[in-house]
């Protein structure tokens, strides 16, 4: 009897999680399957082609050159974002900095600028082109993807180790690298991965900068050869590069080490006085905002104010209706991304296994592929499986979800991973139901991070163009498609307001993201 009393709770505990785990695993498999539609499509195209044609396409010397350009640009941008993003986050969180809040907001703003708009601004204004042009634009537009997670991690990091290292005579840089960096590495590298995948798939900025990478070749396969097979064959190389990046990031990331830090008691942190380096802080913090926001906006305003009187007029009503459809569709995309990311991220955080890692990796592929390929793959999927939804807002929102899922998966995994299982156990012993634990403890602690991910997906979806053009309902315009339409006909003056409104609309989620970063810390402190 006594033995039975003792074993019952243990049995219940053993049975329930396995059911939960089964349901979770099944949902994650479905979600990852949906996220793999682009890859399946590529395989269908490539396997359906003559092997000789595919081999000839891939084996030409040009492929190697393009691959080298792609890898070079990706590595360079990722490294630059790592350094600049970490430095920005460090200054924002650790240094004595007047106007810290304003600077935090300012450093997030580059996220609101589409890379093709930034590239356009630089091309119109300066002679910078080719590798350095693409490097500059892609770096400054993507830095916040590293800054934000690094900032959140730095605020969570335990500074006492670094203090100890300093008292033991380590230089500040070395103490940081040896004690704080390992704590923020997983979050920071997850950001770097998003940057690298974006660089692989970007076409707008590299085309304007005339730097020939793989997406250029994919695009040219459609443009000049009308050859979907060649385009698919070339895209599989991009997918392979994306998978390699995901794998490399996982190796570098190591185990998530921040688990449990939410409840670590911390000493009040004294901001670091920068001394004779005080001038450097605003410089570091201004690089990305000036290059990604100020320069392109100034160029656009110049076009807007300098344009001759022409027939191309801009109606406020058109702008407003485009802005509304942009916000609506991107919010829908964010909701889809969240729905797909929750099972995958939860499984990865709570039931880490070989399968959970494969599912997580599969969810990243969409981000490595050019938008036109993902768009066509969903045309293929939609017509084959749900023809009634073809060219509907639902399919477009679904496309955004698949494209930008990686931005949500990592955040769900990291946010849930931060909730110490011990905390849940305590709540259980205090009489909470399993559902109660989830809503009162786990979700509450993880929510700010997940909310930030949802904002990030919405923000990115607002700027998406190639897949939008293919999948939008006939006759529906977004700010990005209107911007495209006007720049196609060289009506830059008329295009400027659309670009400005797009940046303004996208700045909304960007600002919420910074608020979120602050709220994260406050809530964690309270819960601690």
């Amino acid at each position: 009897m006594r033995a039975a009393l003792l074993t019952t709770p243990a049995n219940r505990g053993a049975v329930r999680p396995s059911v939960a785990r089964l349901v979770l695993t099944a949902s994650a498999v479905v979600a990852a399957g949906l996220a793999s539609i682009p890859l399946v499509y590529l395989l269908v195209r490539v396997l359906g082609a003559e092997p000789d044609a595919v081999l000839t396409a891939l084996m030409r010397p040009r492929t190697l050159e393009l691959a080298a350009n792609t890898v070079g640009l990706t590595v360079a941008v990722a490294a630059a974002c790592l350094v600049l993003g970490t430095a920005t986050a460090w200054v924002l969180s650790q240094a004595r900095l007047p106007g810290r809040r304003v600077w935090t907001v300012v450093s997030t703003l580059p996220l609101a600028v589409p890379s093709y708009v930034a590239a356009f601004g630089w091309v119109a204004l300066s002679p910078v082109r080719g590798f350095w042009g693409a490097f500059l634009v892609l770096t400054v537009c993507n830095v916040p993807l590293v800054t934000l997670p690094a900032l959140a991690a730095l605020r969570m990091a335990n500074p006492s180790h670094e203090d100890v290292a300093r008292t033991l005579g380590r230089s500040r840089a070395r103490a940081f690298l040896e004690t704080t960096w390992p704590q923020i590495r997983p979050a920071t590298l997850a950001g770097v991965l998003l940057v690298a995948l974006y660089v692989l798939s970007d076409f707008g900025a590299v085309a304007l900068m005339r730097f020939e990478v793989f997406t250029w070749a994919v695009h040219s396969a459609y443009t000049s050869q009308f050859d979907r097979t060649l385009a698919a064959a070339l895209s599989t190389v991009l997918a392979a590069m994306g998978i390699a990046l995901v794998w490399a990031e996982r190796r570098l990331r190591g185990r998530e080490s921040e688990q449990g830090s939410a409840v670590t008691a911390r000493a009040a942190r004294t901001p670091v006085a920068l001394g004779r380096w005080t001038w450097a802080a605003p410089v570091v913090l201004s690089v990305a905002p000036v290059a990604a926001v100020v320069v392109p906006m100034a160029t656009l305003l110049r076009y807007f104010t300098g344009r001759a009187d022409t027939a191309t007029t801009v109606g406020a009503a058109d702008l407003a209706s485009d802005a509304l459809s942009t916000v609506t569709l991107s919010a829908g995309g964010a909701a889809v991304a969240l729905a797909l990311a929750l099972p995958i991220g939860l499984l990865a955080a709570r039931f880490r296994s070989h399968l959970s890692q494969v599912l997580e990796s599969a969810s990243y592929i969409g981000l490595a592929l050019p938008g036109i390929v993902v768009g066509l793959s969903l045309v293929f999927f939609s017509l084959a499986v749900v023809p009634a939804l073809y060219q509907s807002v639902w399919m477009l929102a679904f496309a955004y979800g698949v494209l930008f899922l990686p931005k949500a998966v990592g955040a769900v995994r990291a946010s849930v991973g931060q909730v110490e299982p011990g905390l849940e156990d305590v709540a259980r012993t205090l009489g909470s139901t399993r559902a109660g634990v989830w809503t009162r403890v786990t979700a509450r602690i993880a929510w700010p991070g997940i909310g930030a991910a949802v904002l990030l997906v919405a923000l990115t979806a607002m700027k998406e163009l190639p897949a939008t053009l293919l999948l939008r309902p006939t006759g529906t315009d977004t700010l990005a498609t209107s911007l495209w339409r006007l720049t196609e006909s060289a009506a830059y003056g008329a295009a400027a307001p659309y670009a400005l409104v797009l940046v303004a609309v996208a700045a909304g989620p960007a600002l919420l993201l910074t608020r979120e970063a602050v709220a994260t810390v406050r809530e964690r402190r309270e819960s601690a």
Binding site: H219, G332, E488
Partner: protein
């Protein structure tokens, strides 16, 4: 948790709004053409690879004249050709309006077009349309040189593009090798001067540090900015920039290569009827309208392109189409695009 409530509210409104938006657009599977017996339901779906700003006024005019509603899907010509291939027989499109003959050829090759009635195909000059009735030419676009008027006088501009391999132009010339019009020009070069001359010219251009751009407008902007001195583009881009920037804003100027030069060929834009809409009277009415006097005059006035139907005058200030027409070149010989892209790939331009 405020953020949670906000997000929940946003998601709810998303679904409501999305539902509304969905209600406004017609069900694509119900468009004309899917029902073979129905000849007219007063509406058609158009895939337009030509820009909205240029085409929409013409469509509004068509709707006003005929009462037929047109649902237009705008995207790049290339993207739409890829989309049509992907959609196959399930395409909601009735008509495809294309920037260039190459894309129409690709769609025709995939057996997606219905053969057009003769009343439409014979409305335009036979030199500027398909030979098998799979699509019809709508307007003509001349290849020209644009030059930086601050660096060059009109007289300095070479009369033949073949001269551009001269070291004098090292690093100063811009081309758009992925652009369909440029590729048609290279095909014309191959047909007119032979494979060897075409290859030598391309290799010469590469050695001469030719500058590569993604499209015509980028070349024109580069000339406007003084970044390059010469660029190979289509004539109307310059006229559109003129309309946007005014006479004083045009640092770039136009030069027409000598008649007979491969650099002065005329490309066409055109339209085709999707197989599923073969019996759709609305779609046929639209195609007829494109090559009618009203349609052709619209393109002359609004886009500065050459009309292809006889009896309509070309835009002012342009050399006559007949002067640019190369008697030695049959446009139907320009269908060897595959060989051109192979050549461009070989010399490292694609």
């Amino acid at each position: 948790m405020a953020i949670a409530r906000t997000l929940a509210a946003v998601c709810t409104s998303v679904l409501v709004l999305a539902g509304c938006a969905q209600g406004e657009t017609s069900d694509p599977s119900a468009t004309a053409g899917s029902d073979a017996s129905a000849s007219s339901d007063g509406t058609l779906t158009l895939y337009s690879g030509r820009e909205e700003d240029l085409v929409q006024p013409l469509i509004d005019q068509f709707t006003a004249d005929t009462g037929i509603e047109v649902e237009v899907r705008y995207a790049g010509t290339t993207e739409l050709a890829a989309l049509l291939q992907e959609e196959g027989a399930a395409s909601p499109a009735d008509v495809f309006l294309s920037q260039d003959a190459g894309a129409l050829g690709a769609v025709a090759k995939a057996d997606l077009f219905a053969t057009l009635p003769e009343s439409i195909t014979t409305a335009v000059d036979p030199g500027f349309t398909s030979t098998d009735g799979s699509w019809v030419g709508v307007t003509g676009r001349a290849r020209v040189l644009t030059y930086d008027s601050e660096a060059l006088d009109a007289a300095d501009v070479p009369a033949s593009v073949l001269d551009l391999t001269d070291p004098e132009w090292n690093g100063k010339v811009g081309i758009a090798p992925t652009n369909a019009s440029f590729q048609s020009f290279v095909t014309a070069l191959r047909v007119l001067e032979g494979e060897d001359v075409a290859r030598e010219w391309l290799e010469g251009m590469v050695e001469n540090d030719v500058q590569l751009y993604p499209k015509n407008t980028a070349i024109l902007e580069a000339v406007q900015a003084g970044e390059i001195e010469l660029g190979l583009i289509n004539h109307y881009y310059w006229y559109r920039a003129l309309a946007e920037l005014g006479e004083d804003g045009m640092r770039a100027q136009l030069s027409f290569p000598a008649a007979g030069d491969a650099g002065s060929i005329v490309n066409v834009t055109g339209a085709g009827l999707l197989d599923g809409a073969a019996d759709d009277a609305d779609a046929l009415a639209f195609l007829e309208y494109l090559v009618s006097e009203d349609g052709q005059q619209y393109f002359v006035d609004a886009t500065y392109e050459y009309p292809l139907a006889p009896g309509i005058d070309a835009p002012e200030g342009l050399p006559a189409l007949a002067d640019l027409t190369n008697s030695e070149l049959d446009l139907s010989d320009l269908d060897t695009l595959g060989d051109t892209t192979a050549l461009l790939t070989e010399v490292g331009l694609l």
